[in-house]
Assembly symmetry: C2
Homo-oligomer: 470 residues x 2
């Protein structure tokens, strides 16, 4: 009837993610008998997750086994799937690094040293190398950032089957909500690179729904931009809807920035895409509020990021309380419906041939025209017993390719080259290329200070100046 | 013994270029009997060139015929070669446009509206379309800027044989002079894109000469950068050495900027290459002087550019005086040795099988690895009766590809897309991408004001905002 699998979760201390995964597995009957091995370096958190998972499965009567370990190689033993959701850069670390950048004149840490990506990619490669030894035939489901760069690196450097996942593409649903149509009646497509995807197809009940976006912009845009105040994060939290939907909280899907990108590039940017978009949206809090709306100015501002981290911590505190209360109903607290995350449905598709379409990050192999075969693209794929087979989506408009996709590919290639060679001058080039950088000396100083920050010791050792540098 | 050809020169009013060409043809016996048709829109200048050419040939006893016409299609009649050296943007125009940019806060016009390139490319395509009708089998020798973008465009859009030429690569000789070796004993290679070429091979008497550069930097660099004052332009001019070598005047070949680029990217940048290099060399006159040396801060500053234009005008005045003096010896004034320009030797190679190696700009077709076949690259080529055959130079180092070559290719592709679609938002994207741009509003304002400048009327009509732009 179904297939029992063995799943290792690296970075399982990420409570919201892990419990979402537990829910989805518990609610997928065809995975009965499966085993989940949680791994994290935070023992306390790990035990908490382990116990909650057991209680949840018991309450639902689900036939699942759970393990936990501090040793990632132990978790990988006999794994069919390894889900890597870990980040070696914590939320508080990232705030500390922002402060270093701010001292050098960068608004809220907006300087591209690449170190967040690079540190995580070094870690991803460690995980991947372990998998090559321990479970070379397992699928690696990369669920932590940087999905694009990391998945490209791992598929190039190893023989592993890698699939990167993100949930940013669900942003199309927020657009549906905004323009007043039911997303369940919508068909859509938004290919590109992770965090850089563009709505090529958008049909409502079979008809092109782009005119509905245009109509919204024309008739409601100005009023919305002038009066809307984002309110979701706290209410969402209070309602206990703590599936990982905090991203939706900032209401940027039809912000001035998103609509401006639609005008500049010709298609709607989806999910995390409008969040970047161009340096000019991010010159300061006032600009951010103008482009992304009141009161937070979107994600990644000094107002919203601490709130995001705080909300995460409150969720974790909630979970901890739940874990400490032996009388509490976990089912009641977590709900008994599946999340919208794709990990478990993809596993189910692969092992049980329960075919579905998913938005995945896999090597291109021609799916998105104009991108090299060995670059990981975000495209829809058909998932079934045959594997994860990307769907050929054709080409994005040339303007998007030349202004958004291909520059992003080059950026990725430079990061991979930097990682491989340990050449510090490539990091410097990215800092110089950071638009707000005002002088060469500023670039050198912010890079050196960021590398000197204690949390970056490993990076500081990895990256050296070229031999002829003075 | 030789082959008589018919050469059309578009933009022949460029006196220095045209008289250099006349010298070279007169001094190439195997082209005896050839005919040169000068075309320009400046009748007075055209007649002057025509007469000087006739007198020069007569003095040398060269068997050549000359014509002049205001009609480019007449000049092309029966042409074997069309040399396009024209620019539709004059030196004074470019100063006026710089002033518009300066009003918006850009140092000496350093804002990338692309309009100089775009206007010249529209013109190049007019010339190319005429050639397709009148002399479709002729070689088009593109000698005016933008060589890279324009040659790529014309080879894609027409069936013409196009070869772009520049003399920037001779910068390797200035490096030889600086480090005290005889360039005639040097073998070298510097492929890339026009104005973006990198010294991959550099041998002196058969031995790697890079260590000599390193030694110069180590032992003499600091002193040179701290004390050198560029002096060449006026002496060069006074000595009547008015072959087109003014580019050498600014002594930037081993400037701090050039050496810094060598450190950042791993190979020496040659000729016009160090002139760009990165926004941080160009933040103002003080930065320019630091990176490119005293007293001018290299080319393209408020000190050097007017001097360059003034020197050109003085040369032209000299030429006019020469033309008006029926007793003067043209041979004595112009000299009787060949210039270092490649146009005539290439013609001679093609028609007389006098084989030679030249630095050309032709569609890549695999010569430079990692660049698409239909992009024009600057590479050495063997020229003989078989044609202009680029030499496979292998790959440039990955850092140069990812930081210098491929971003330049994307920039070219965006310019070509802008030209084709007339999409003004692509121009805006380049202005936003101009590093010193401080805000979105500044970008829009400088673009609109530059387009509104009377000399840009055609461009202002060509470029429209996308349909959904407000």
């Amino acid at each position: 009837m179904g297939t029992a699998v063995r799943v290792a979760v690296i970075g399982a201390g990420s409570a919201v993610f892990s419990l979402g995964l537990v829910k989805d597995i518990c609610l997928t009957e065809s995975l009965a008998g499966s085993q989940v091995s949680f791994m994290d370096i935070n023992q306390e958190r790990l035990e908490m997750i382990h116990k909650l998972a057991q209680r949840y499965a018991r309450e639902l009567g689900a036939d699942l086994r759970f393990e936990s370990t501090l040793n990632r190689r132990v978790a990988m033993q006999d794994a069919d799937f390894v889900i890597n959701t870990a980040s070696v850069v914590g939320h508080h670390d990232s705030i500390a690094v922002k402060e270093v950048a701010e001292k050098h004149g960068y608004y809220y840490g907006r300087v591209d040293t690449g170190l967040y990506n690079l540190a995580n990619m070094l870690f991803m490669m460690d995980v991947a190398r372990d998998m090559e030894q321990i479970c070379p035939n397992a699928w690696l489901i990369q669920s932590g950032n940087p999905v694009f760069e990391g998945s490209t690196l791992m598929t190039r450097e190893t023989g592993l089957k890698v699939c990167g996942l993100c949930h940013g593409h669900y942003g199309y649903r927020d657009i549906c909500d905004m323009i007043g149509i039911d997303w369940q009646k919508v068909t859509w497509q938004a290919p590109g690179l992770n965090h850089n995807i563009w709505l090529t197809h958008f049909f409502y009940e079979g008809k092109d729904a782009y005119p509905l976006i245009d109509e919204w912009i024309k008739s409601k845009g100005e009023e919305y931009w002038n009066t809307n105040v984002a309110t979701r994060p706290l209410p969402d939290y209070r309602q206990g809807q703590w599936t990982p939907e905090l991203e939706r909280a900032w209401e940027i899907d039809l912000s001035r920035a998103a609509v401006h990108q639609y005008r500049m590039f010709g298609l709607m940017p989806i999910g995390d895409t409008p969040r970047g978009g161009g340096w000019w949206y991010h010159t300061g809090l006032a600009a951010r509020k103008y482009w992304y709306g009141e009161p937070y100015g979107g994600q990644d501002t000094e107002l919203s990021w601490p709130l995001y981290v705080e909300n995460l911590e409150r969720r974790i505190a909630d979970i901890a309380r739940l874990a400490q209360d032996p009388q509490a109903s976990i089912t009641k607290a977590l709900g008994a419906s599946k999340t919208r995350e794709q990990q478990v449905p993809i596993i189910d598709g692969l092992v049980n041939d329960h075919e579905g379409q998913f938005q995945v990050n896999v090597p291109n192999h021609g799916a998105l025209e104009g991108v090299a075969d060995d670059v990981v693209v975000e495209v829809p794929a058909l998932v079934n017993k045959k594997g994860i087979q990307p769907i050929h989506v054709g080409a994005l408009p040339p303007k998007i390719m030349l202004e958004k996709i291909l520059p992003n590919v080059l950026h990725m290639e430079r990061e991979l080259l930097a990682l491989k060679t340990g050449d510090r001058s490539i990091l410097l080039w990215h800092v110089l290329d950071t638009h707000p950088t005002q002088s060469y000396d500023q670039a050198v100083a912010v890079l050196e200070d960021t590398l000197a920050w204690p949390g970056n010791r490993e990076m500081n050792e990895h990256f050296k100046w070229p031999a002829n540098w003075r």
